[in-house]
């Protein structure tokens, strides 16, 4: 790439430091099976992106590579300009990345508030503190605020194992919003929710502070297109199409994939 005719912004773009998230040629092989192959993706700070695709398209594998649950076989991942490809998951989280899980991964033997408190503690100092939080502990107050935000305040002392499915999904979101998130990966947050819970979810997502960007995996086109500014379509581990929600919705190939069989 020539450097002479480029503005500073373009150069930052080229260096990958202007993006919240930048994937270059990321592949993940399980044995001979390529779950994702050669995925190149850039997301700007504050951008909200939906990732669509049928089951097995590689969406969750993509998330697992971004958060560091597994290392990609090839390629590099940059988070806010920093190469985090070799970083363990917790180092990426401490840099502002968050995620929710498709199947809720919560701490069933702890209360709702303790779950959120742990999420707040994980991205601040004192993770090894042997002292109990005081009555007016700032992080505990934050945890209460987050419980309020996801409408779980009335259940704050309930053990997570005793929550309903929808409430567990809401708690998933609260955990991902703890600390100062800069970029969030939502893995099918609406799966299994009732229509009213869905509209609550849309409200929560649309009311997130503007600087928080996210990628959302969602099967429900109705939800996905209402909470995102851009859409990436995945198919068989490859990026199939990128565009605005409107373009994707009206794209005949996407319609073919989503409505008419979808198998090659």
């Amino acid at each position: 790439m020539s450097t002479t005719a480029l503005s500073v912004a373009d150069r930052l773009q080229a260096a990958g430091t202007a993006n919240a998230l930048e994937l270059r040629g990321v592949s993940k092989l399980f044995g001979a099976l390529a779950a994702i192959s050669d995925v190149t993706l850039t997301v700007k700070p504050g951008e909200r992106r939906a990732v669509l695709g049928s089951n097995g398209a590689g969406k969750t594998t993509l998330f697992n590579c971004i958060t560091g649950d597994f290392l990609p076989t090839t390629g590099t991942i940059r988070l806010f300009g920093e190469d985090v490809t070799e970083f363990p998951a917790y180092e990426r989280i401490r840099r502002g990345l968050r995620r929710t899980y498709q199947i809720s991964l919560l701490f069933n033997e702890l209360s709702v508030l303790d779950n959120i408190y742990l999420a707040c503690r994980g991205v601040s100092r004192g993770r090894f503190s042997l002292l109990r939080p005081r009555a007016n502990d700032a992080l505990m107050n934050t945890a209460v605020d987050l419980a309020t935000a996801v409408h779980l305040l009335d259940f704050k002392d309930t053990l997570v194992a005793n929550l309903s499915y929808g409430q567990q999904r809401q708690l998933e979101i609260a955990l991902a919003l703890a600390g100062a998130p800069r970029f969030v990966l939502f893995d099918e947050p609406a799966a299994g929710l009732s229509p009213s819970e869905r509209s609550e979810l849309i409200e929560i997502l649309n009311n997130l502070p503007e600087h928080i960007g996210y990628i959302i995996i969602e099967h429900d086109m109705d939800v996905a297109l209402r909470v995102s500014q851009s859409v990436t379509m995945m198919h068989n581990g490859l990026i199939f199409k990128e565009g605005s929600p409107l373009e994707i919705e009206s794209d005949p190939e996407v319609q073919e994939l989503y409505l008419g069989g979808g198998h090659e």
């Binding site: 899980y101 993770r127 700032a138 919003l177």
Partner: protein
């Protein structure tokens, strides 16, 4: 509705400043908190504490040292296993080795009847150094063990326990081989002979109660909560910014301190330490104690230890009175273990919880405890 709360959340936790603000000490609230805490202690607990304190007045010195002191010491060592297993989900069979390491180090660094080996440091130097060495030993065990999960953690810690046992038995230069060390005794201090049954009982009671309170306290502190998070879901903990491996190793360090203190008290009680103290059988006994008592709460190991010690002390008499060989006391312990594990996978504590819940559910004025009953309620 979500908007203002969200924004505040993000601002509140945006860095160390917010945290420092939260750490500001407000004496008034804190004092109220302590008062509130004291007034909430149930009467049954107060009675229990008084019983423990007044035991020396009613029991013989044999019962005091061979039942209660011994039970409290084994309870402490099992408590270190309960902390790892109950809160951390890691079952370690090497906690008795950690206690033994502390005991051996005390014998080597302090004074014993084996004057060729013992260096003869004063107790105030030998005891802390012995505890530190044993804690480091436990941490190193943790470093090896936390790379694995479940049955493999048990196997690695069992291997370490076995290796340490055979090493002490074969090494005569440092560990004095098969016969080990004798002539070990707690120091004279404040004009009290701590070797006597009553002072020694209070000494063990103090340290056992301290260990119990420490575990109870830490279980609700960030470190303990995070450990329970690791137990429930280690993958999610990593996705919340926790270094799961470091947390597990730190849990071994914490448990190591408790086991080491128990080990010091154990050699003082027995007056000796030899490879038999830390053999595979005692290591497994600690696991049995913790499981029989219950791994869910820190009182469990002490309940288990008391049952174990009573069985161990009196089963010989019971068996001989029934015309059986007295050395078959392990049979009784084994049967007791089978019965308890069969009826209540979460130990005696589980039985107690279910009994209490049933009594409460009969009484319409008592509200439910809100605790989840994960065992099957036969009623």
């Amino acid at each position: 509705m979500a908007d203002p709360a969200e924004n505040r959340t993000v601002a509140d936790s945006s860095g160390p400043l917010a945290q420092r603000g939260g750490g500001v000490h407000t004496p008034r609230e804190n004092d109220l908190g302590v008062y509130g805490w004291v007034s909430r202690v149930p009467a049954s607990y107060v009675v229990f504490v008084f019983v423990l304190l007044l035991l020396p007045a009613v029991s013989s010195s044999f019962v005091l040292s061979q039942i209660f002191s011994w039970g409290l010491i084994l309870g402490m060592i099992a408590l270190s296993l309960m902390f790892l297993g109950g809160y951390g989900g890691m079952v370690s069979l090497s906690q008795m080795s950690v206690a033994g390491m502390a005991g051996y180090m005390l014998a080597i660094l302090g004074s014993s009847a084996i004057t060729d080996i013992s260096i003869g440091w004063p107790w105030w130097l030998a005891v802390p150094v012995a505890i530190i060495i044993a804690t480091v030993f436990c941490t190193l065990t943790g470093l090896l063990a936390v790379r694995t999960e479940g049955i493999y953690t048990i196997m690695i810690t069992l291997a370490i326990a076995a290796a340490f046992f055979y090493f002490t038995r074969q090494n005569y230069v440092l560990f004095n081989g098969f016969s080990g060390f004798n002539g070990l005794a707690p120091p004279q201090l404040f004009g009290i002979n701590w070797n006597n049954a009553i002072p020694f009982y209070y000494l063990t009671l103090f340290w056992a109660a301290s260990a119990y309170c420490a575990v109870l306290y830490v279980s609700r502190a960030p470190f303990g909560l995070a450990l329970q998070g690791v137990r429930d879901n280690s993958r999610r903990m990593a996705a919340l910014g926790f270094n799961v491996t470091a947390h597990r190793v730190a849990a071994f360090t914490f448990a190591g301190v408790i086991a080491a203190v128990g080990g010091i008290l154990l050699v003082w009680l027995n007056g000796q330490i030899s490879p038999g103290t830390i053999a595979i059988n005692p290591a497994i006994d600690i696991l049995i104690i913790a499981i029989v008592g219950g791994l869910r709460r820190p009182i469990g190991p002490f309940v288990g230890a008391l049952i174990y010690v009573i069985l161990r002390t009196f089963s010989l008499d019971i068996l001989t009175s029934m015309g059986l060989a007295g050395e078959r006391f392990q049979l009784l312990i084994g049967l007791g273990f089978l019965v308890i594990v069969y009826w209540s996978p979460d130990g005696v504590l589980g039985l107690w919880d279910r009994w209490r819940d049933r009594v409460k559910s009969r009484d319409p004025w008592q509200r439910s405890t809100g605790r989840s009953i994960d065992g099957d309620d036969p009623s």
